[in-house]
Amino acid sequence: MFAWEAAGLKHHAGFYLKLFWYTFQLSAFTVGGGYVIVPMMKKQFVEKLGWLEEDEMLNFTAIAQSSPGAIAVNASVLLGYHLAGIPGALLTVFATVLPPLILLSVIAVGYKAFIGNEIIRNILTGMQAGVCAVIIDVVIDMSRTMVKTKRIVPVLLMLGAFIAVAVFNVNVMYVILTGALVGFISAMRKPGKEDKK
């Protein structure tokens, strides 16, 4: 069963249109690197539409980071498949690729003028500040959720990952592998907790 069925969403044109439109927005405003897609996904798909759980979104981000290709594209494949199967994945990838495709094919022609234009540069610098606000807000919420679980291992993993990358510039792949390994070991040490249906 796919999430849209569970959520009682009808598999009709309106649903696909919404999925396309929100993914398009997600991509069009992901300025400043792949991870910016996460705050946008949380705000729109988790909080506003309620189509996605926060846990699930973090899982998608981890898988997207560990797969070849751009994080934003990979996350959109996972999102689309989760919500509406293979047609959903095709739709979300299309919606993710479209904004940069349109923008860059236009810019490619007269891009010197684009880079040199003072006003465009100012607007984009302002937008970057807006992106900062959104990402700070989401990081506050997510880290608070982690701390509220009052479990020491997740909090340590979170702080460790942050310090490793922000301070020591450790390769992200190693950080992800460490997180996965710690999770695996803590599952081994928890007898009795069997596979969930």
């Binding site: 792949g34 610098t125 302002g126 970057q128 500040a129 606000a133 959104v134 922000a166």
Partner: protein, 187 residues
Amino acid sequence: MIYLKLFWAFIQVGLFSIGGGYAALPLIQSQVVDTYGWLDMGEFADIITISQMTPGPIAINTATFTGTRIAGVPGAVVATLGCVLPSFVIVLIFAILYKKYKNLKYVRGVLGGLQPTVVGLIASAGLAIVVYALWNGGNASFSIGSVDLVALGLIAAGIFFVRKFKPNPVLIILGAGIIGGLLYSLI
């Protein structure tokens, strides 16, 4: 056949750029600049600048940019398609496996370890973006005195509005763009 060449070059970029973003840069450079000579180093540096300014993954941006310059819009479409195809197939397989096995004990364990890790990664990406915004892309020296005050004000106002009114984040980003555009142009 230029379309086939574009497609093939960007399939390789899409397939071997694990880790995303700037990790993919050397690979893109080797295909686009060194192997095929579609862009020179100056143009390649420009595309990095453009990618920092515009939305979209850097690999897709380069694919579109290169495709357009070499073979027009059809070239852009072909290159982008090549760039996306490997990740689409591979991630789709992961998505199917994930759906099937996410409730197994060990899979849940691994995912349980990955979730807080990812929050830490997002926080560090956020910090990098904030530093970039406050100190003008790292061009200015890192001291309190050289903070971009307009950016600081916009970020503070943005956080206030996001937390107080919970609007569509797109509005916050657009609003900051318009107000920032005005302020920077006037000052």
